[in-house]
Symmetry: C2
Subunit: 321 residues, 2 copies
C-alpha cells in the first residue's frame, strides 16, 4: 500500500502522517510506503516507510516523479490559505486550482482508480448562509480560495463518475488549534483564542462573544480523513462530497470550556474587537445538519470540552476522575 500526502508539512499533514505511520495500515492493507510532498519538510522521525519529496505541487514534473511507481491512496491537503490566496490571487490560482487539477489529471486510471481524499472547505458556501443549513446548501464562495475548492470538488466528482479517480471530498470547518503564528488563514482567530487562553496570554478576538463558528480539532479531522479513505461500497457515480459534521459553538461557549479547563481567572485576558468582515465570513455560521455525513460515519469532537481537549492535546480528565 502506497500512500501520498500533499501538504505533508502542514498542520494537518504532519498529524496525518504520524497517525498513519503509527497505525501501520490503511484500508486493511499494510502501509509500505508513505510519500510526503511539501515545499519544505521539517524533521520527521526516521522511518523506512517514508519517502520525502521537497518541492511544489505546481512542479508538474516532480508530481509525475512522485507518482511514477504508482499510488493507492492520496490525501490532497496542500493549499494556499483563504486570506493569503485572496491577496496573492495568482499563487492561489496556481496551487489551489491549477496544480490540483493537474494532480487529478495525473491520477486518472480507469483500470485501477486510486483513492483521493481531498480537503475541501466550508469556504465553498460563502457568507450568505440560510438560517438552517444542511449538506445540500447552495454554494456561493466569497473568496477565490472557496471558488477554487468548489471547482476541484466538481472535477473530482466528474472523474469519480468516469471511474478514473476514486475521489472523496470533505468540506472542512475551522480546524484547531493551529500553532499561534501568522498563517494566512482568515479563520486564524479560532485557533488563536485557544492557544492564548491555554498559555495564559492576553488575546483580542476579532469577532464578538456571540459569534458562532463551526469547529473541529485536528485530531478529529485526521480521523475523518482516514475514515474517508476507508469508506467502502461507494458506487463510482455516487455523491462524492461530504460536509463534515461540525460543532456549532459561539466564542463564549468555547471560552466557557477553556475557563473550565484552565481556570476562570483567565477570562479577563480575552477582549473583543469585532472586524465586520471576519464576523460576516466566520462569525455568523448557522446550525448545520449533516445527516448524510454522520450516517457515513464522519464525526465531530462531541462537545466544547472535547474540542478543547482534542485541540490542545490534553489528557481526558474524565478518565482520571
Amino acid at each position: 500500500m502506497r500512500v501520498l500526502i500533499t501538504g505533508a508539512n502542514g498542520f494537518l499533514g504532519r498529524q496525518l502522517a504520524m497517525r498513519l505511520l503509527a497505525r501501520g495500515q490503511l484500508c486493511g492493507r499494510a502501509l509500505d510506503t508513505l510519500l510526503l510532498l511539501d515545499t519544505q519538510l521539517d524533521a520527521f522521525a526516521a522511518d523506512p516507510r517514508l519517502r520525502l519529496h521537497v518541492g511544489s505541487l505546481t512542479d508538474y514534473a516532480l508530481v509525475r516523479r512522485v507518482l511514477a511507481d504508482g499510488v493507492d491512496v492520496v490525501f490532497h491537503l496542500v493549499s494556499v490559505p483563504g486570506g493569503a490566496a485572496e491577496q496573492a490571487y495568482e499563487v492561489g490560482y496556481q496551487v489551489n486550482l491549477m496544480a490540483s487539477l493537474e494532480l487529478l489529471d495525473q491520477l486518472r486510471d480507469s483500470s485501477c482508480p486510486p483513492v483521493l481524499v481531498y480537503a475541501s472547505s466550508v469556504a465553498v458556501y460563502g457568507s450568505e448562509l440560510p438560517a438552517r443549513m444542511n449538506e445540500s446548501a447552495i454554494t456561493r464562495p466569497q473568496l477565490s480560495y472557496g471558488a477554487h475548492k468548489l471547482m476541484v470538488e466538481t472535477a473530482l466528482c466528474d472523474l469519480a463518475r468516469r471511474g478514473e479517480v476514486d475521489g472523496r471530498a470533505l468540506r472542512l470547518p475551522g480546524i484547531v488549534a493551529r500553532p499561534w503564528q501568522p498563517n494566512g488563514l482568515r479563520s486564524a482567530f479560532m485557533s488563536d483564542v485557544l492557544q492564548a487562553y491555554a498559555a495564559g496570554q492576553p488575546y483580542t478576538c476579532p469577532v464578538s462573544p456571540q459569534a458562532t463558528a463551526w469547529w473541529m480539532s485536528a485530531h478529529c479531522c485526521v480521523g475523518n480523513l482516514i475514515h474517508a479513505a476507508e469508506l467502502t461500497g461507494l458506487p463510482m457515480d455516487s455523491e462524492r462530497v461530504w460536509q463534515l459534521p461540525v460543532l456549532h459553538l459561539s466564542l463564549s461557549q468555547v471560552i466557557d470550556a477553556l475557563a473550565k479547563r484552565f481556570g476562570e481567572h483567565r477570562r479577563g485576558l480575552v477582549s473583543f474587537a469585532p472586524d465586520p468582515e471576519l464576523q460576516a465570513l466566520f462569525g455568523a455560521m448557522p446550525p448545520l445538519k449533516t445527516t448524510r455525513s454522520r450516517a457515513a460515519g464522519f464525526c465531530h469532537d462531541g462537545n466544547a470540552a472535547g474540542l478543547v481537549r482534542h485541540a490542545l492535546n490534553l489528557p481526558n480528565t474524565r478518565v482520571a476522575l
Copy 2:
C-alpha cells in the same frame, strides 16, 4: 467598441456575428471591430469591421494576440459538445475547461473589466432533476461537459466578485434547429426532428413522444446573448449565472406544431425508438421556473409555434393572415 466571439464559426456564433454586424452597435456604442476566433471560419460577407483569427482557443499565444489591442465584450461560445467531450475526454478538458480558464485569466483587468458572456449549459444540472425545478436547483453534472461548464461558471463568478471580469453566464437549453449533420451533441435529436419534418424526410426519434425537453431557437438564444452583454446596473458581487427561460415541451407538442405548419400527412414519417440513456439525460426534463431570469429580461420563444417558426427561420404566418 471591440467585440470578440469565440466559436464564431459555430451554429450560434455565425448567427450572433451576423446579428451584431446588422445592428452595428452593442451596449449603446458603435461596433468598430468584431473579432472572430475559431478553428475554421467559413466565408463571412466582407465587412471592414471584421477581424478573422483562425486557430484554437487552446493556442494561448494566439488568444493573447487576439486580445492584444483590448476588447470590450467577449462572447465565449466555443465548446466541444457533450457527447464528443465525453468520448474524447482530453479534448473536452483542454477546450471546455483549461482554455476557458486561460481566456478568463487573460481577460482579468481590474481597471476596466471586460464584459464576458459565457454560454453555459443545462448540462450542469445532471439527470437527477427535482419534479419542480427553479433557478436554484442543485447542480450535479453527469457529463464532463457539464462539469467543466460548471467549473467555468464558478471561475467567472469569482473574477466578477473580484472586479476583474464583468462575467455573465447563461445556461442554455437545447438550441434548435442545428444543421442536420453529426455534431457530437447528445441532444441532436431536438434539431433533427425539426429539420426532418420540415424537409419531409423520415426520422426515427431516440426518445419517446412523451419525452419532455427544454427548447429554444437559435434566434431567441442570440437575442438572449446580446441582452446579457447589455445588462446594466449589475454590482460586481451580484449573482452572475442565469438559467435562460425555456419552453418545456414534449416531443408530441413539438410535432403537433410541426404538423400545423408543414401538414398532418407527414406525421407518419416520424417513428420512435427510445434510447434509455438519452431519454434520461434529455427526455425527462421537468417544468423549470425562471423568475429571476425573466425579471432580468431574458425570454423564450413564446410557444411551440414560435419555436418552430424561429428555429426554421419561417415567416410569421400570423402576420400574413
